[in-house]
């Protein structure tokens, strides 16, 4: 039996920004995240609501890229949930099997929900991680671009 997750068509602006920072946190290289975290001047206390746990998510594709859904295969994912003393609940869902990564992602997710902390965190942590990710993607994309074929037509006869 399979169950579906209806994706809400209208997401609040708050949800959109949360999706963005959670995405940056999960796609970050852990050493980068860890180093930036280490530089933070003040860190809140948190309780682990769900200890980091390794599991899988079934990755789906679509036939022809746009048609009916099918199950491609699974990927390993580590998740964690933490709660700050002010009650904010943070979640980390991170590809792979790195437990500290999932826990840090959850803590930062919880902290980002506190408006007074958000701007600073965005500046010193989220934005730099996002830039590094974009730079890696750009680097790969530019190497690929160097292999783009430039066709030229040989004129025959005259």
């Amino acid at each position: 039996m399979s169950n579906e997750h209806p994706v809400p068509s209208e997401q609040t602006a708050e949800q959109q920004s949360r999706r963005r920072w959670m995405s940056v946190l999960s796609k970050a290289d852990f050493p980068d995240l860890d180093a930036l975290w280490g530089n933070l001047p003040s860190k809140p206390a948190w309780t682990v609501v769900r200890p980091p746990e390794i599991g899988m998510v079934m990755v789906r594709g679509r036939a022809g890229g746009s048609g009916g859904r099918f199950n491609l295969g699974e990927m390993t994912v580590t998740r964690c949930a933490v709660q700050l003393d002010d009650g904010a609940l943070g979640f980390g869902y991170v590809m792979g099997r790195n437990k500290p990564h999932a826990e840090l992602a959850a803590v930062v997710d919880a902290m980002m929900q506190t408006p007074s902390r958000r701007d600073t965190l965005e500046r010193v942590l989220i934005a730099p991680l996002s830039l590094r990710h974009d730079a890696r993607t750009d680097q790969r994309g530019r190497k690929a671009a160097s292999t783009k074929v430039e066709f030229f037509t040989v004129v025959r006869g005259s």
Binding site: N3, R18, R50, A88, T114
Partner: protein, 201 residues
Amino acid sequence: MTQTVGIRPGFSDPVMGAQRSFRAVLDAMSRPGVIRSTSTGNPPPVPLSEATAAICLGLVDHDTPLWLAPAFDRPEVTAFLRFHCGCAIIDRPADAAFAITTGADLPPLGDFALGDDAYPEHSTTVIVQVDGLGTDGGLTLSGPGIETTHRLTVEGVRAGLWDDWAANRELFPRGVDLILVHGAKLAALPRTVAVDTPKED
């Protein structure tokens, strides 16, 4: 959007808790009508009983969609179950692998998934919270897992349930299984068990 809906803790000991809960249900299903008990070690959100919470945390997961009777469809309950079980909470009992209801609100058994002859296990396991469970009388149970007969008292189930149960049994190998729950206590009625009610004369 700070998530401040407190999510109550699940098993105090996740590994052993899940195994104890599984064992309690397995024993109860193997010996229909015998009363077992289980809990998560933490108080569940109202109106889930201790046994209901432990059964759900032990057995319900992403692969088993859950249906809730209206009395259970409350934010604390759905947040608790989604967080700990990762299950989808669905609208139609016929699509459910598990269901939670009270004895009074129990829908007609035919509304649930009944499985088919090739895959009879694709039916709903219904957790029914009742007002009391005892072994001192009331119903007489017989069937696989019971040497002769077994006595069970069930309080607070809707009228007509036992006629409905007899019809469910006729569907074998299809049909739903019930887990009756009161507080931390549970007793199971697998689809194979025959229930005789006392004659009203």
